[in-house]
Structures are given as C-alpha cells and as structure tokens.
Amino acid sequence: MPLTPTQLEALRALLDRLIPNDEFPGALAAGTDKFILQLLTHACAAEAPFLAQGLTQLDTEAIARHGQTFATLPITAQDALIFALEHNRTATPWPAAFPAAAFINRLIDLAAEGFYADPANGGNRDGASWRMIGYDPLLPARPSAP
C-alpha cells in the first residue's frame, strides 16, 4: 500500500471535490481512487512518495488554516483550499521540489485520467463518465480481425 490510512482519507476527500457526484456519479462512485492506487503501486511507483508527502502536506495545510484535516472540512472550505493550492497560495511551507500547484495539478490530471479513460483502467466503472458525455467506442462484440 503506497499510502497511509490518513493519506488515503485525504486522497478520497480530494477526489470527491475534483470530480464530485451530481446527477451523475463522480470520481469516488466510479472507482477513480482505486485507479490511482493501482498506478501508484505500478506505473507511477517512483512518484508515489511525492504524492504521499503531498497528501500529508494537504492535511498540514488544512490544519494550519482551519484546525482540522482536509477530509473533515466543509466542502466550501475544501474547494477554497484546492483553489489556493492551484495558485501556489499556501500557509505552510511545501517542498520546493514539489510545490502545491504541481501536487494539485498532478492529482487533477490523475483524477480525470481515471474517470474519463476506458473502464478497464479501473477509474470509470461501468463507463459512467462515457454515458454522461455521450461517448461509446462502438467496438463490435466479436472482433473479426486476426
């Protein structure tokens, strides 16, 4: 497991704001958290420690501003914090090698990659996002190509 339980909680709370539920499933309902965990243990294993550190820093930042972890903040405060990080406006020192904006932008990308990619990648369960936007690959049930 590349993340501690606390980091995982922060990740899930963050994903829930990056692609929220509305009348269509959001990132968590579509399994995007599992897609990211899978990447962090395989293709992006080298990046995992940085993202883990960023998730811890996200909580540090939330505590410095509001006295509670990111996951327990009201959603308006969560959104305001994400917006601030996107613009590198921080209340705590972030690692120079991995500034707040780089961290949040990477997670925004990862969330969208999982949510909008093919269901086999694990973050777009039952093609939820594809149904929402009107995309279907229309592949034949039985490919005739050798």
Binding site: P20, Y135, S144, A145
Partner: protein
C-alpha cells in the same frame, strides 16, 4: 559460418510500412527475402484498447512496445540539456515498434504530395540556414507508384481529393462517409470560397482484397482495427510476401550493423534475435545477401547507417558528405479547437476525419509552402478533457464535469501537417554514453526545425481559425507554436535522395551513394515532407525502389 548464419537474395531491415512493401514486391519477383523486425507480429488482441496507453496518448506506455526500457533514446532540448527518453514520451519521437510499423495503428490519411512539394527550393528559394532543396525526382516519376499504393494497399477517396495532383486511375474504394461536424465545415468552406472534399484514407470502406469493411467504431487512431479494415503493408504486401514461400520474417530481431567489404559492397547484417522464438535470451547472428534494404524509419535507419562504420567508412555508411541523420523533420501541427452552438445530434462515427482543404498548400503570400487542413478523428473523452476544453474553464469541480457533458458533443477542431523548412542541425547522431538493451549506442536527437517553419505554421493556424469561425463555431482558440525539434510520427529526411552524392545520401531511387547494393525504403528518403501526411509517399517510393531492384537483379 555458424548454424545461425544464412544467405538470402535480399535482407530487409524493418517490417514497417516501407519494409513490408519492398518485401512483397521482391518476394513476388522471385527473390528469397529475409525480413528482420525488432518488434513482434502483434494480433488484434495483443494491442490493448487502453485509452491512456496507445499511440495517440501514451501517458504511461503505449500499446505496441514490448520491453520499452531496452530501447532508450537521448533527447537534447533547445537549451542543450540532454536526457534519456523512452518510447511513450513525446521527446522520444516514436512511431511504433511492431510488424507493420506506424501503419499498424495509424490514422490512414493517404495523401499524394503536391507537384510543387518536390520542387520547394525552385519555387521558394532556400532560406539562409535551411537545407530546403528540390527532390531529384518529380511528381510524375512517383505518380504510377502512388497509384500502385492506392490500389494494392487500398485507399478510399473522393474523386476530387487530388485535383492538385493529376491522377490516371480512380481510387479503388469509395470515400469515408460524411460526419455531422464535417457538414458544418463544408458550409464554412463554401462561405469562404475554399475547396473542401473528403480526404483519402487507407481504409476499407467496403470489403476489399479479402478483408472486411470498417464498422465505424469510435476508437480508431492509435489502436488496432477490430475488423482489420485499417490498411498498411502488414495486411497487404507482407502477407503477399509470406504467401510466396520465399520470404522469411523473423521478429524480435534487432539489426545491429550492416556489413560491407573493402569495395563498399554490403554483404550482410549482424543482428540480435531470441535463441528460440519465445526465449528472453538473445544471440548475435549474421545473415548474408547480395542486396540489403534499410527500412527502420527515419531515426533508426540513420542510426544504423552511423553504427555501420568500417575502415573505409569511419563516419558510417552513406555519410561521405555528412548528410546521414541531418534534416530530420516531421510536421508542425497547428491544432485549433472550437465549440459549435449546439451539440450535433448524431455523434461522429469513426474514423471521424471527413473533410479537408488544400486551399493553403501553396501560393500563400510571403509564406513558404503551407499545409492541408482537415478535421480530426473521433475524440476519446480523456483527449477531449486534456486538450479541447476552453482554456478559461476550471480544470476540476462541478463546473468542469458539467462542461464535459455539455461541450463534448459540441467540440469541433481542425489541424494540418505543415510542410517544414528543414534544418541541417535537426539531426540524429549516436549518443556517446547511453546504450540500448544490446549494448549499442542509441539515437541522440538534437536541434530544431528552421524558424521559417514557424511562420508557415502560424499562417496555417490563422487559416484554421478562419475556417472554424466561418463554420459557425461560437468560440475558437489555439496556442502559438514554439521552435523545437519535430519528427515523431511523420519523421523523415535523414537519408535524403540526391542526384549528386554531395547533396544527399541516396541516389534518386533510394540506393545509397557509393554502395551499389544498399538501399533505403522508408521515410528517411524524403528531401522535404510535403504539406500532407507522408505515408503514401513512403509507400510509393518503396514500390519504386523495389521495382527497380527487381528489374536489375
């Protein structure tokens, strides 16, 4: 000679697009052909439909490369910093490492070059610092071979699609169907008074040459085709070669050097291949033939020429006048996005490219050359998210999610392959430090295109914006382009054709100057790369060279 050594009439390095064409023509003419391909012969099920790992979007890998760690390159940025890169990275400038080469998963646009694409220097002059030159052959020399490629590989086209280039025979297949976005663009072109027609695609719009028709799926470019309707040499000329019984295809066979004798004659190749077909262990082998053809693609063919030094050729084969690896080019691609006022009711079906104009290929005031412009393939959702949402939109949250569902079916975009003004400093050399899986120095890519390319690209970008606006797009946007190295999928130019050995690497047929039995049949030969996708020209040159070899043997 060891047991693994063997002798053939012809050895071809690379079973990609050009190599496959040469194999078919030569095996059918009675030659015993050895075809060596470093990739595998992938079936449909071997090429995953992974939206994050394919040949249009390869964030975490691609869907054809095996053992990517074994095939690094070195990329040098314009500031001079170099770093090791792997096949899925943009700076690797990949095509595809598999039997079929790039055409295994290509977009199938099958354009003839414009007659003036062969005489760019005569028409425009050569800008200082560039290596813009005329081809040593004219459109008329290639026309019969364009025709062979269209008929023997299979191209679907609109009869007016090559009005700019005279043709004798109609396309063998009817054009791809119109799309809803194409209808908007057709109205826009009519308003502007521009020509517009269905572009030629190498796709079976109906069953052809024993294979099925396209079923218009929506996962096309960068993937394998579920009905094998995507035409290349891997499903036409290569099977024809194998059917003769005279062509031996060895996959996972990586050619390390071309062997030459003191007189400069090529007599064989040294290659690495698995000890048994499925083994991870490789062994070094040699094979001999009286004709050797290189078709590894523009970057790898240049690398192989540079690796094949001998006491007589200390700078590599064909490198007598220092042209090998230089003039590396591809196409600058301005991409312009927009939003239609309403979503089209029926989403576009695949392949999706359905309308093009050649209005700006030449004759643009104050500009060298130009480009064809066309609409694009059906967009994967993740590609739309990354590259086609309006730039001012938040990248996350409900606003972003709502935009995805409201705008996905309103998106429209145009792009065009800008004819590049080549630079001798945009080049492939051998890296002094980094080695591949076999211990061979890897390709080092450095330099940039000539600044004139940027001027043409910016001109074309503005015309694409005009077209989208005239088509009724509400909002139109694009980004300016910067000076960089360009090669990637349309890589070309590194062993240019030249009548005079001082001006290039091969003679006007593709035979390496100074080595009368060493030939090239891939994108390396292109002196310039046209304002069109290059593959039909690669095929035409391969047909022409192979016919010449067959006739002289």
């Amino acid at each position: 000679m060891s047991a693994a050594d063997s002798t053939y009439d012809v050895i071809i390095v690379g079973a990609g697009l050009g190599g496959g064409i040469a194999a078919g023509v030569l095996a059918e003419s009675g030659q015993r052909v050895l075809l060596l391909e470093r990739g595998r012969d992938l079936r449909y099920r071997d090429i995953p439909g992974d939206h994050l790992r394919h040949h249009r979007l390869s964030i975490y890998g691609d869907n054809t490369t095996h053992e990517p760690a074994g095939h690094p390159r070195v990329f040098v940025d314009p500031q001079g910093h170099s770093r090791t890169v792997y096949p899925h990275e943009a700076d690797y400038h990949n095509n595809a490492l598999t039997v079929g080469g790039g055409a295994r998963i290509w977009g199938m646009q099958a354009w003839r070059f414009h007659p003036d694409d062969f005489r760019m220097a005569s028409r425009y002059g050569t800008p200082a610092g560039s290596s813009l030159a005329d081809w040593p052959i004219a459109y008329a020399d290639l026309a019969p071979f364009y025709e062979r490629a269209e008929h023997e590989v299979g191209v679907a086209g609109d009869p007016s699609a090559t009005d700019y280039a005279p043709r004798e025979r109609a396309f063998p297949l009817p054009p791809v169907p119109a799309t809803p976005t194409g209808a908007w663009l057709a109205r826009g072109a009519a308003t502007l008074g521009w020509n517009a027609f269905t572009p030629p695609l190498a796709v079976n719009t109906k069953p052809y040459l024993g294979r099925a028709a396209c079923v218009q799926c929506r996962q096309c470019i960068g993937f394998a085709c579920p009905t094998d309707a995507r035409n290349g040499s891997h499903n036409t000329l290569l099977p024809r070669a194998l059917a003769t019984g005279r062509c031996t295809l060895i996959t996972r066979a990586h050619v390390a050097r071309v062997l030459t004798d003191a007189s400069g004659r090529a007599h064989g190749v040294e290659y690495f291949a698995p000890t048994t077909p499925d083994s991870a262990q490789t062994e070094r082998r040699t094979a001999h033939a009286s004709t050797i053809i290189l078709a590894g693609g523009a970057i790898e063919t240049a690398r192989l020429l540079l690796l094949s030094t001998s006491p007589q050729h200390p700078r590599g084969l064909g490198n007598h006048s220092d042209h090998v690896g230089r003039h590396l080019q591809g196409h600058y691609y301005p991409i312009v996005s927009g939003l239609l006022p309403v979503g089209f009711e029926n989403p576009n079906l695949g392949p999706g490219v359905s309308i093009a104009t050649t209005q700006f290929n030449h004759g643009n005031p104050g500009i060298i050359g130009g480009a064809m412009l066309a609409n694009d393939f059906v967009k994967l959702p993740i590609i739309f998210w990354r590259s086609h949402l309006p730039p001012e939109l938040p990248r996350w949250g409900l606003a972003n999610k709502k935009a995805m569902r409201e705008l996905y079916l309103r998106g429209i975009d145009l792009r065009g392959p800008v004819q590049e003004i080549p630079s001798p400093d945009s080049r492939v050399t051998l890296d002094p430090h980094v080695r591949d899986h076999f211990g061979l120095p890897v390709a080092r890519l450095s330099g940039t295109t000539h600044p004139e390319t940027l001027r043409t690209a910016e001109f074309i970008r503005a015309r694409a914006e005009d077209w989208l606006r005239a088509a009724g797009a509400e909002r139109v946007w694009s980004s300016p382009m910067d000076l960089r190295l360009s090669a990637s999928q349309h890589q070309a130019g590194t062993a240019r054709l030249a009548a005079d050995p001082r001006d290039g690497v091969t003679d006007p047929f593709g035979r390496v100057h100074g080595h009368d039995n060493l030939w090239i049949t891939d994108g390396s030969l292109h002196v310039t790369n046209g304002g069109f996708n290059p593959a039909l020209t690669i095929m035409a040159l391969a047909f022409r060279a192979a016919a010449k070899i067959a006739a002289t043997r």
